[in-house]
């Protein structure tokens, strides 16, 4: 099975977001980057499927800046066979244009399975995997926490509100990976050395104009100070009333 894993280079999860001077993007000054955490589950799943089948290939692709070579080399060191960097200098926010570029590229390579993280933790769009599936004519299961493959059919389990869903999906397929699907491996020294000789191709991405245009970016309002509504069991009705009528969370 030829597997394509879509990954994204994102600001580290502990980044203190600052707004750039244009008021429409984040200030990249001092920001450290890493492989999107959910994508690690996708890479691991691809490697496990290849190892189990004893055949096929794992190609890791990203849409991002040239610096994303580092994250791709990391994926190669873990065991991927090949990496492709679709180069764009702008921060990728709009999923329609990102999916357009990625789907067009995937159509040019042998591919029966696309694996992605459930979402990138920068834009939090949570939509690329099912988008790709529709554009490629593939089946799709999103936010998968357990995955099995038998006779070309996936059986996937995913959490939904208050329950767990079991979904069957034919190949070719797009699967988006949720935390808990597997335990991602680290690259060892042998893998890191081998990764230096593995192919990493760069292709200039032809990004279309965004379908969703960012007009402004802002920080959330500062949190107001807390309020003590009372003490002990006597305060419970007042607390419930406040949660229901003021905070509107119940």
């Amino acid at each position: 099975m030829d597997i394509v894993v879509c990954v994204k280079r994102v600001p580290t999860s502990d980044t203190a977001v600052k707004i750039a001077a244009d008021g429409k993007s984040f200030d990249p000054a001092g920001v450290q980057y890493e492989l999107n955490a959910y994508d690690e589950f996708a890479i691991e799943q691809a490697l496990q499927i290849k190892e189990k089948l004893g055949a096929g290939s794992v190609t890791v692709v990203t849409l991002g800046p040239k610096d994303a070579q580092k994250e791709l080399r990391d994926a190669l060191a873990r065991g991927a066979d090949k990496a492709v960097l679709l180069v764009t200098d702008k921060w990728v926010f709009d999923s329609w244009s990102a999916a357009t570029v990625l789907a067009n590229w995937i159509k040019t390579v042998p591919c029966q399975l696309v694996l992605c993280g459930r979402q990138a933790i920068d834009a939090d769009n949570n939509q690329l995997p099912p988008r790709l599936a529709a554009m490629l004519g593939f089946g799709c299961v999103t936010e998968v926490g357990k995955l099995e493959l038998a006779d070309g059919v996936f059986t996937a389990e995913r959490d939904i509100e208050g329950a767990r869903e079991v979904v069957t999906c034919r190949t070719p397929a797009v699967i988006s990976c949720q935390k808990g699907l597997n335990a991602p491996r680290f690259a060892n020294l042998k893998g890191i050395m081998a990764a230096k000789k593995k192919p990493l191709d760069e292709v200039q991405a032809a990004m279309p104009e965004a379908a969703m245009v960012i007009e402004s970016m802002s920080l959330p309002p500062a949190r107001a100070a807390g309020r003590i509504v009372g003490n002990g069991a006597d305060a419970v009705p007042a607390l419930i009333a406040a949660l229901r009528n003021e905070a509107k969370v119940l």
Binding site: T15, A16, V17, W96, Q127, A134, G139, E215
Partner: protein, 200 residues
């Protein structure tokens, strides 16, 4: 372009989930700004009870797209039906709640309609001929205000963020949905072992 707004209802166990009613309420607010009609869409089988709920949710019209093959959710099958209904009603916007089903379904609908999608929306508006929406990024450490540059506008709305409304009884129509060749289908829903109360 018509400004009709299609709201895709999430029906589980024959009942409409509350976040879907919130999405209808948000749609009615937009319709009041651009003069469109709100069409609530339920897809699947045994939809009578769900349609009765949707009829008084503020929608101007309720459509039941019935298909025995879609009695259980299929991401690709449901997406084809929703995209077809969006085209049939000339919709300028398609909304759904940002739930497990909404996150799975609406991106496919947006892809079939070759348009953008803004997810996990906490506020939505229509002004100067364009839809705008506000959503969190970086796990809520910042927010972006986006403007839709392609049509239709497609959005998933964060639950517990828009108050449901009650409206006059809207007409309900039924259409036979063409499920097509299904690639992915829900086989089973297992009740969670946890005794946590779902917050939606």
């Amino acid at each position: 372009m018509s400004q009709n707004i299609l709201v895709v209802a999430e029906v589980r166990g024959g009942a409409v989930k509350r976040p879907s009613l919130e999405a209808v309420a948000a749609a009615t607010r937009l319709a009041a700004r651009n003069g469109g009609k709100v069409i609530a869409l339920a897809v699947g089988a045994d939809l009578d009870a769900a349609c009765a709920t949707l009829a008084t949710s503020g929608a101007h019209q309720v459509v039941a797209a019935e298909s025995a093959a879609l009695a259980k959710f299929s991401g690709d099958g449901n997406a084809r039906v929703v995209a077809e209904q969006a085209r049939a009603h000339g919709c300028g916007a398609v909304l759904m709640a940002h739930t497990a089903m909404g996150k799975d379904l609406l991106p496919r609908v947006a892809a079939l309609l070759d348009t953008g999608l803004v997810s996990d929306v906490v506020d939505v508006d229509f002004a100067n001929g364009a839809y705008t929406a506000r959503k969190p990024v970086f796990a809520g450490k910042a927010f972006v205000q986006v403007r839709a540059a392609r049509s239709p506008f497609v959005a998933t709305l964060r639950p517990n963020n828009f108050e449901p409304v009650t409206g006059a009884a809207a007409p309900v129509s039924k259409v036979a949905a063409q499920a097509g060749d299904l690639m992915s289908v829900v086989k089973e829903i297992i009740a969670a072992a946890s005794d946590k109360v779902p917050l939606q």
